[in-house]
Symmetry: C2
């Protein structure tokens, strides 16, 4: 054990975290956040289980959601009420559904993707590991493209999509991207909407997971992708997915997909074969709980107040331990759930492994890249939400010490 590791061990022992589990791996909200929504559990009862249209939410029916939920969440997603389906508890499941539908039955402007050959998706990296594992599980080939400060590198994207009709889509998290926290510029949004694609049935899978999940005092506004696609005469190009997983209960929120009326009509028809309807009681709970979009925004602020402290303490520790050298680079996100840290080449896996020995669990190194392959082994993703402020401080101190230790070991000639 080298000197730095000995110091780290001493530090952990002093802070009595030996055998304690600190977890920065997943963006699970903490209990304090969950408690913000407890009223949701009981806000629909036998006295108020009928919608404004007279629908008993306990019974069958209503394939695309109750009208009051469509009203509320169309504002949340910034689309028309005719451009949304409010569904079950998982937006990831809606993404899967949209992919499975396209693969088997096709889209509004093309036959089943499986019948067209070995199709591919563009994956801006670093990105969300579950987008990538979903593609991998479905046999969709992934092509990594760099994610810059203003979105995917559009020169590369445009060049790829214009010549290969088997490139059928791109994953995008345009607002507070997972994990870097960047927001797409208006120019990026427009180029995505207007670019020439060899595939007539090209789709942007836009995960709007952090629509109102700001950390600053006011949220960042970004251009409306669906509107841009309409302006570009590519109205069918954008699928927008969202949920309340990080606003109410991650396991029992409400998810939604927004798209052009033509796409929504296609989804609605196909959904009608696949289910008799979503859990309308839970939709009504959410409407009763939030009341309206202002209530939802106010609620989002309560989450931001809890999360901001954790992000601040971690970023302060990073500044304190890592700013003087060139061991790591990161950015202070304006929203979202993650901090992305780039280390020196060859260090990410070793840092994650070392941290684990000190009781700190991180997202596996490489997870933010397709096939889990980070060619430079540099990127790690930090998820602050589930820890207390005190544990977030401790965890980030351990992480920084691990970074210092591994960096000096992998790059022994480095002058920090």
């Amino acid at each position: 054990m080298n000197m730095i590791d000995t110091q780290l061990k001493d530090f952990c022992q002093k802070n009595t975290i030996q055998n304690q589990q600190l977890n920065m791996a997943r963006g699970n909200p903490c209990q304090e956040q969950l408690d913000l929504s407890n009223e949701l559990l009981t806000c629909v009862n036998k006295m108020n289980c009928i919608t404004r249209d007279g629908v008993d939410v306990r019974n069958y029916g209503g394939i695309d959601g109750i009208n009051e939920a469509k009203d509320l969440f169309s504002k949340y997603m910034d689309v028309n009420v005719t451009e949304i389906i409010v569904a079950g508890n998982s937006s990831l499941n809606l993404m899967y559904n949209a992919l499975a539908l396209a693969l088997i039955q096709g889209t509004t402007n093309g036959p089943g993707w499986l019948s067209q050959g070995a199709i591919k998706f563009l994956c801006p990296t670093p990105g969300y590991d579950r987008h990538f594992s979903l593609c991998e599980s479905l046999g969709i080939q992934m092509i990594a493209v760099p994610l810059n400060e203003d979105g995917p590198d559009m020169d590369i994207v445009e060049n790829l999509v214009k010549s290969d009709h088997l490139i059928k889509g791109i994953w995008c998290v345009p607002k507070y991207s997972n994990p870097t926290g960047i927001c797409y510029s208006d120019e990026t949004i427009n180029r995505l909407a207007f670019m020439d694609t060899a595939a007539g049935d090209f789709r942007i899978f836009c995960d709007n997971a952090y629509a109102v999940h700001h950390l600053g005092n006011k949220g960042t506004q970004i251009a409306n992708l669906l509107e841009a696609c309409k302006l570009a005469s590519n109205p069918e190009r954008a699928y927008l997915f969202g949920s309340t997983s990080k606003l109410t209960f991650p396991g029992a929120g409400v998810a939604m997909v927004a798209a052009s009326e033509k796409n929504i009509s296609y989804f609605r028809k196909q959904l009608g074969f696949q289910t008799i309807g979503p859990d309308k009681i839970n939709q009504l709970r959410h409407v009763n709980f939030f009341q309206d979009i202002d209530g939802l925004m106010t609620h989002a602020n309560l989450h931001a107040n809890i999360l901001r402290k954790k992000f601040d303490v971690i970023l302060d520790v990073f500044d304190q331990y890592l700013s003087s050298g060139n061991l790591a680079s990161w950015r202070r996100p304006d929203g979202g759930y993650f901090i992305s840290v780039n280390l020196l080449p060859g260090c990410a896996k070793k840092v994650v492994d070392l941290a684990k020995t000190f009781g700190l669990t991180l997202t596996p190194a490489g997870a933010t890249f397709p096939y889990g392959y980070d060619a430079e082994d540099r990127n790690i993703r930090i998820a602050p939400s589930s820890l207390t402020v005190e544990d977030a401080k401790l965890a980030s101190e351990i992480l920084c010490k691990c970074i210092v230790s591994v960096s000096s070991s992998v790059h022994p000639n480095l002058h920090n």
Copy 2:
């Protein structure tokens, strides 16, 4: 308007149902049934949202359901606790998932069905329209086989599956079949389990929708298909689907799939790519509400008490109006949600249309057959549940008068 229709019109006017809507089309539980489960709405609150294993059901995780739900519903489905996944609110959606998975990625013993050619399913008829529309939407060819009093005609089934490797599955509702209400005999179950299939990846899609939905004083017991498949050394052959849609709330129940451990392990892995987990709060609600399998069975009896009266009044009207002639044949079901009536050839569509003009909506004629095609135009499905006992009587009287009217018109030489 002939004499019978004039009498019918007079009858409707006397009973003031002109412009009133009577609906026997779908098996929606009535309000009295929904009210049986109102406690479910509020039985999980901020004080009891942690499982026995310490899982906070509000947060992410638990891909295959909470352990207490797996315990309860494995008893309900008569399988081991390792042979079940408890999921969201829709068993139809689980059937779709299993089909989409098999089509795209394949099964535990074969590659993706789409890669193998134009695959086919056997459809015992009359059967459940949503099974058929699901197949049709996915491009799966359907082959109708007769449903007898003891299950599908197994001579025909065995003959078909042994020679065509593109026949990948069969739909079965072995208990209180939709719509005829018959139960499969032990011999049928065993022949399904043991039969030789050309397809090594053949699957029985068994919709166990009416597991405890008896109408008599005690439920019918049928052989266990999963156990039979194990005995036959075809353990992967059976997928069993179930839900609480007709025990608690149709829109917000809990659905489940049961199968061999190998199949369940495969489903669990693939589900892990498609969602972060089901609504665990709603699962805990169901466990808290039912307490245990005895509680669930007691609750099922409360439903039976409500439903039995409606079935009885309708069957009594049938006896009164139709038993003396040969205009229709039907059976008194021991459970389930439907009564299946066979008319004289060429009469079903006309009866449904005529009933509609008198304010009575029935399931579209032909719906109980693949592609909506009832070659003899004979079968209609009656769904008594959503009506009051009084309306059920009125509706079945209208129906009988329509049957008499149409029969005499289509078959003028008939001596009734």
